[in-house]
Each structure stands twice: as structure tokens, then as C-alpha cells.
Subunit: 247 residues, 2 copies
Amino acid sequence: MRHYTVVGLPNTTPVELPAEVRRLVAAHAVFSGGRRHYELVKSLLPTTHTWIPIAGDMPALFAEYQATAASILVFASGDPLFFGIVRTIQTHDATATLAIYPAFNSVQRLCAKIGQPYEQVRNTSAHGRSWQQLDEALLGYEPLIAVLTDGVRTPAAIAQRLLDYNFCHYELLVGEDLDGPHERLGCYTLAEAAHAEFLPLNCVLLRQTSAPTRNWGLDDAAFVGLSGRPGMITKKAIRLLSLAQLR
Amino acid sequence: MRHYTVVGLPNTTPVELPAEVRRLVAAHAVFSGGRRHYELVKSLLPTTHTWIPIAGDMPALFAEYQATAASILVFASGDPLFFGIVRTIQTHDATATLAIYPAFNSVQRLCAKIGQPYEQVRNTSAHGRSWQQLDEALLGYEPLIAVLTDGVRTPAAIAQRLLDYNFCHYELLVGEDLDGPHERLGCYTLAEAAHAEFLPLNCVLLRQTSAPTRNWGLDDAAFVGLSGRPGMITKKAIRLLSLAQLR
């Protein structure tokens, strides 16, 4: 049974680790994390150490972890329990034991800087994955939706998606390089954000600006019928009853 | 326009404040917070200081804030953006400017200690308020629900409520006095938790143990009809159509 110590790093430089984490670092010889994490912490590691880089190939990474006799200290960004490495470890090494030392997550940092209470935020990620989580949050009429982005699903792409599907009752709050040297905070309309450029390290909060229209059912006229036979459609009453029979 | 500096305190004793916060404390003369916060930080405050206690009467508190010429440093527990004092300040002093220095929130601390990823947690509070937020989360089939408790809506009362209304597909994770000297972590079935006692400072996470039955509509037979005339009821088709017409 392998033991992992997982340490979340803030985005501040130079990195300052809490005393408890410094003691753990001194007691380890094998470390792991992304390339960016190595640049941040290598001056803080024991002179003799092994670094196992985290790139993209998870099965190969965990094979390397399994081949290591010593316990491993893994560095992560922010809170490793927030869309982070802990879930990955639990998926690939089900019997692992974990000790976790988080930093603040990016949504929490954004909210602290703009004074936005966040207990009601619905967290979603589009980082390296589809729009599904965001779409579900939008369809659920969530008033506050956080979105983790990537180079494809950027703040501008999010704004364009909301415009395309007529979810126009939101504004975008964007935090770029939070706690870093190029930090920038902004509040944008969808139209503004759709044409803006943002630094690659960013975090988006969609905030409802007005109460949306909640439709409980689609009228027959809202469907595009067959040409010349617009009335040939399963009627609303039958559609609703069919949905209500689902198990 | 009044400026507030809001500092979240961890539950560790003695309290260690970050260097940036220590500088802010040294630059202030007027402080505010609960009685418990004063006990925690009074040795860290400048010798000559004013302490404005936060009890229950918010209009009186903000009248006292308004009568203070200096800027005020307010202490809070955990993250003041998580069911915390920031929303209260924004409600009672709409033009206030804020600088916020959070600590970790209690749900985040619980999750770090039990290795539970929390990005999908639905946060609710029953602290000094009704069951409404918890009920909405349960009716929304949320797989992970955090609940802030109080002396009436205890972990045991939560478990009993779930049993009473047949939401039996959850287990309770309870963190007591997190980061404090009497910290205790436990995982309980609803039946166990309903009869257990917990320390007053606690935090509950409801975790789904099996997929719940999702009903999309109630059958006519599920209603209690008039005695002798059980069929006298608005039928399912009409009930569904009525709901679907709502605007």
C-alpha cells in the first residue's frame, strides 16, 4: 500500500511553504509534479532527490510510482482536491493512502479578490474535456458558475457559446494569472468577452445578471416540422406524459 | 465609503497569521469579530486597540461601524466568503470596499482530511436557518452535499430528517473540531448518526452510497384521495400539462 503526500502550491513566486510542509519535504527523497512545479520548488528540495515528472501518460506515471520503494511527495497547483491530482491517484492506485496539504483553489482566489461569496457557486471544468459540465450547469439555471478553461475552451469561447445558445443572462468575471506577476481582474459582458484575449492561466466565473425565463415545456410551435406538414408532431401532452413515465 | 479588511482565522491554536496579515494588523487600531475570535487574536493586536464585538444585532453593529472614523479589521472563522461575514457587510453597507484574506473553509478542511475531492459538492447551511437549502439539494439528487450545522440542526437531526423522508442513499461524514485539540473524523450510516452525539463545532458531508430512484412524475395511486371517492383527483396528464404551462 503506497503512501502519497500531496502538496498544493499557490501561484505566488517565490513559493513559501508552511513549516509543516517544509518538514515533510526534508523527510522525502522522491518528488513528483508538473514541469512548472519543478521550477517553482527545486530550490527547496533536498540536494539529492529524484523528480518524477507528470506529463500526460497516467498509466506510465503510475507504473513509475509503483516501481519506487520510497513514499512520494507530489506537488500540484492550488487545491489538489479541486479538479486535481487526488482523484487521479485514487483512480489509478485504489489502495493508496494520502496526506493532503492544499493551497487555495483558483475559484476561491478569484472570489477573494472580487469580494464574491462563493458557497453557491457550481464548479465546472472545460479543461481538456467537453462542454458537458458547463452545459448542465446552464440548463440547471445556476446563478453562479465557475469554469476552468484551457487553450481551446477559453473565456472568449465560453462567451461565444453562451451567445450562440441564447444564455444571455450572465456576465463573465475573469481572473488572469491570479497571484502572479501579470494578475488581471475583469468583468465583461458576453459580447465584450467573445472578442477579448486573455492570458492562458485564467479562471472564469459566470454571474447571472437577470432572472432567466424558465420554460417548463416547449410549445408545439417551437419545433421545426416537416415541410408542408407542420402539424405532424407528437403533441405536447403526449410528450410530457412520455417523459413522466421514464424510470 | 468605508473600507473593511476581513481576515479569516483557522481553527488551530495558537493562531499563526501570514506576514501580510500581521502587517495589516499592526496598521489598524479598530478590530471586530466574535468573542471567540478575540480570545484567539488579542495577544496579536496592538496594545492600544478598540474591539467591536459581533453578537447578534446586525443593525446595531453597523451603526457602530458607521460611527467609527478609522478603517476596520474584521476577524472571521475560516473563509469569510463561505457563508460568512462578507455577505453581511455587503448587505448592510452597500458601498463598502473590502480586502479579504481568507483561511480554508470548514468543508475544504474536512475534505482534505478524508481525501474527498470537493469540486462537485453542493454547499448548504442549516446554521440558524431552516432546512430549505438541504431539502433543495436532496430533491436535486446531489451526490455530495455539505451541511453547516448548529445546536438544533445537528448531524443527528440531519440523519433523522433523511430517514424520515426516505433519502436513505447517503452516508454521513462528520468532522468535529477540525484542526482543533478535539478533532474527530467519522463516517456513519444514517441509523448510526441519528443516535450519536457530536461536538458542537462540526461539519457534515452527505455522500451518496447508491444511485437513487428518480421519479419523473407521481402516479395517481400515490395520492391519498377522499374517503369513499379515491378516484376524485386531477389526473396525471392534466397535472403535467398544468406544470408545463407555468411561466
